[in-house]
Amino acid sequence: MDMIHAEQLVYEYDKRDEEGNVIGTNRAIDGVNIDVPQGSFVAVLGHNGSGKSTLAKHMNAILVPTGGTMWVDGRDTKDPEELWNVRQTAGMVFQNPDNQIIGTVVEEDVGFGPENLGVPTDEIWKRVEESLRSVGMIEYRKASPNKLSGGQKQRVAIAGVIAMEPKCIVLDEPTAMLDPNGRREVIRAVEKLRKEKKVTVILITHYMEEVIAADQVFVMDEGHIVMHGTPREIFSRVDELKSYRMDVPQVTMLAEELRKRGLDVPRGILRREELVEALCRLR
């Protein structure tokens, strides 16, 4: 059973001029088919305006498709009866760490989701503690979110979603506003969660380095899915990636340049160690 399954998904919105009159429609998503098996780690890449965030918002029923269908754990997101179930199944972490923390104390924020679900009090406390522990923020449970760094805030936001016990977490560019340290913190927390809780992870990003550990990568451009495969397959098509205005990790880039100059380096090198090994073998 697929965790997330989309068929011919289309999302259109009205284009308006300055007075607010409709002057046409824009297709943010145009005929997307996507399958995410349960327990897998899927990354969606794309430059700004490629429709990747719009796609993410469909997985949480924040947006409802104008055409085609999106199923989350077998539930049609268009069905208003299933709305809250869909949202509980697929938790969502947003880009801006400040704008998604509701509580003024870390633990109260993490408890916000379970409170909305009507979870009994004792159970809320258990969940809050467990989810804060799993993102490594337990020592900050009484702190004010304003005093945390960006990476820490984002980890609290992840804990807030975990506390709702979703089967799937959608992270919509969770690292876009963070510094490299914060980015690493967040990605590490996500990877740990995936291993420990076996949740399905869908990571929307434009940082290539973050998708190396993914099972599958989708590349989006202008509302279409233009590339699909394992990270290694994707990264071996450097020129194609560049045509979609995507950056390639430095190592992959370097390996590709070397290969073009006639060195016998394999395609799709993802990590520095792999390149070192390939180069050593050359001698």
């Binding site: 924040i62 969502m92 947003f94 998604q100 509701i102 003024t104 104390v105 916000f112 409170e115 709702m164």
Partner: protein, 274 residues
Amino acid sequence: MIRDITIGQYYPAQSRIHSLDPRVKIVCTLLFLVSLFIQNSLLGYVCATVFLGMVIHLSNVPLKYILKGLKPIVILLLFTVVMNLFLTRGGGTLEHFWIFTITEEGLRTSVFMAVRLMYLVAGSSIMTFTTSPNGLTDGMEKLLHPLNKVNVPVHEVAMMMSIALRFIPILLEETDKIMKAQMARGADFESGNIIQRAKAMVPILVPLFVSAFRRANDLALAMEARCYHGGEGRTKMKPLKYHGRDRAAYTLTLLYVVIIFVVGRFVPFKLWIF
């Protein structure tokens, strides 16, 4: 600069005041505020000072922090003092020069008024310092719950308030940033008369409002994504329950109100003009 404003902020600490039920703190704060108005005598203010001092001491909030919270009202305070000092007439004249006259009654009113204002702010900020905004919301919600029957959206209002409080520091930080950005582009907020200075604030307020709306939109999305759908069917992580200490706090506060009322009204004690 602008970020130094501490009023309305939560000061996380462990203390006896922090652990009180928010309902107790709200009701007792209201009682304290009322107590400042039912009397106007030296002994009454001594009572209030003792009570406030005791609460501040118990709350583990540094006095410096509370005094910092008084900063924004300094101008209002000075204005009140000056107005009362020169415009209130009554009793013997203490000082007279040119067109200004300071009377005994004027001095008395202005001093008491200043103290009263400061205690009002300090008293209510002790409540916000020691109660997390979520606690405050819960307290208000519980206290005002009966209004639900007459179709007042108590939960929604309480939620709005707690979110507003949560965003105060963020928006202040943003104001600071925008101000600096405009200053770097040659904006001048310091010179000119009041009208010119008010006009100079426009380039700060416009981006601030735009960003506040964007944040509100983001936050609404995030809340919906976490299944927020109003107060119905919601459980509480920290449900409110009265304990022994809460009853003790009620008793002490009521006792204080009675004392201040009796002492302030019926004990004729005067020190010079006060």
